[in-house]
Amino acid sequence: MEILVCARRVPDTSENEIELNSAGNDLERDDLVYSINEWDNYAVEEALQIVARVGGNVTVVTVGGEDDEEILRREMAMGANHGVLISDDAFTGSDGRGIATILAAFVRKGQYDLILTGVQAEDGGAQVGGMLAALLDYPFASLVNSVEVLDGRKLKVSREIAGGNKEISEIDLPCVLSIQTGINEPRYVGMRGIRQVASIPIPTFGASDLGVDPGAVGQAAAKVKRVDYFVPALGKGAEMLHGSREENIDKLIELVAAKGGLK
């Protein structure tokens, strides 16, 4: 099975406090620590586990710039066979549709049986996988939390629906799945593993390589644009306890007891 995983490098929320800049219109981007989008990492692990069962190759692709190579190498250190960077000035400012258009052009250049994305990235868009499937006229399943390869070019997939229930379907290949966190336990990647793939060349493709019309992507073609960031005016908010730890605990016990929270 030839599997393509679409991945993205994002600010790591476990390493950063996300704050606005002094002008108040964008994030404070200095000193942000980046990593692979968490959902995408689960997708790569799932691809590796499928290939371990049925054979094949895993390619990880990202649309971005030179800095984004680091996540490709990280996923190659996990075991992905190939990393591909798609980069072109014309792609800057693309909306979800633009990114899906670029990825669709890349998919058409190859022969993939299965394409995985993460369910969403840090912006919560949850859009590129479904758009990519529609552009390619492939079947799609979102929120996938298990994948089983069946005979006859089909998969059995489970989707996470409400209340912890699972919706089981079969889906024809080739298809696109958006992978939910928790589907597997992504393997650990050490510095040593990353050093071992540090010198492997990463092919880079631009708009002309992929046959993408620069007018159909990028800032100018984007129908959806972020205007600014802001922090909404707080409602009442919590009553913050500012005492010493001991004082806070005493106060908390008093409050919790008053609400019937002590046995």
Partner: protein, 328 residues
């Protein structure tokens, strides 16, 4: 102004809460709008849903078919592409069906797409100004959406309050004959119901709920100790289940359990809306988090900024001391 449609999610003959919320969202886009509901389904369930929609929508378009007895996003997408007029604005709830349907629909309609919208600020020219959140609610963003060739928008459940107006007694229009036979590359097999687990967190009055801030599996015991001292149960947010530190049956949220405790101690939980949506009944919420900007502090009653791994054992000891001195 483009015509506005709301795709209605329903189950067992009952429309989802989002049905009335989408009608309210439509009027935020265009106060003069008379949004149209679109509902696909089969049999008596479909008719029952259409009847309840008549109080919120002036017109209800229904598409009936045995293939819609269980909702399939690919079939619904093909249906909507056939029946919707060009340039329509389509609203759907941002839940598991809307997430499956909406992005691909926007491609096939050649329209703009914005997901998980929680505010609508109005239209200027061809641009609809919307509010979203990023980074799990740590920041909000205004988004401009060019609606000149239509738009597909998923709306966060619970973000828009249903309008309290007199029922409008809408008409039901059967669009089934516009659709014809459809096939899909994905076929529904069955639903696997969640296992109940060893502890039923929905039955407890006090929950000690842990999130990513608990840091590692061994630290779960710190929360369990406190829960034991309080006579409470340990629940959690999604990252704890993803890391396999607790069973799925302990998860509070849209993809886990809905709980109604009296007291909810949110320990190291950032407060993403998917988690908060699982907390009902207006409990007394205490948030303990080392990040003073965590969104959980916006919804909690009481907040403490502290290191969980030091705070929890001291809290537990204090509760134990109280029990040992107070007469039973």
């Amino acid at each position: 102004m483009a015509r506005i449609f709301a795709y209605i999610v329903h189950k067992a003959g009952v429309a989802d809460d989002s049905a009335a919320e989408l009608a309210a969202a439509a009027r935020k886009i265009d106060p003069a709008a008379s949004p149209t509901a679109i509902v696909t389904g089969w049999g008596a369930d479909l008719d029952a849903v259409c009847a309840t929609l008549q109080s919120h929508y002036g017109e209800i378009w229904k598409v009936a078919g045995e293939t819609f007895a269980y909702p399939n996003a690919e079939l619904v997408r093909k249906t909507l592409v056939k029946v919707l007029p060009p340039g329509s604005i389509v609203l759907a709830p941002h839940e598991h069906f809307g997430i499956d349907l909406a992005p691909g629909l926007s491609i096939k309609l050649n329209s703009a797409f914005v997901s998980d919208v929680l505010g609508i600020e109005g239209v200027e020219g061809a641009s609809l100004k919307l509010v979203r959140q990023e980074f799990g609610g740590q920041v909000s963003a205004h988004v401009g959406c060019d609606i000149s060739s239509g738009a597909v928008i998923t709306v966060r459940p619970g973000a828009f309050k249903p309008l309290e107006s007199a029922p409008i007694n809408g008409i039901v229009v059967d669009k089934t004959s516009d659709v014809g036979a459809l096939t899909a590359g994905r076929r529904y097999l069955e639903t696997m119901v969640a296992e109940s687990g060893d502890v039923d967190i929905t039955k407890h009055n006090v929950l000690v709920s842990i999130g990513r801030g608990i840091q590692e599996k061994d630290n779960v015991a710190l929360a369990q100790d406190l829960a034991d001292a309080l006579g409470a149960a340990v629940s959690c947010s999604r990252p704890v289940v993803d890391a396999k530190w607790l069973e799925k049956s302990r998860q509070v949220g849209t993809s886990g359990k809905t709980v109604k405790p009296k007291v909810y101690l949110a320990c190291g939980i950032s407060g993403a809306f998917q988690h908060l949506a699982g907390i009902k009944g207006n409990p007394f919420i205490v948030a303990i988090n080392k990040n003073p900007k965590a969104p959980i502090f916006q919804v909690a009653d009481v907040g403490i900024v502290d290191d969980l791994l030091e705070f929890l054992p001291e809290f537990t000891n204090k509760v134990r001391e109280l029990h040992s001195v107070s007469p039973k």
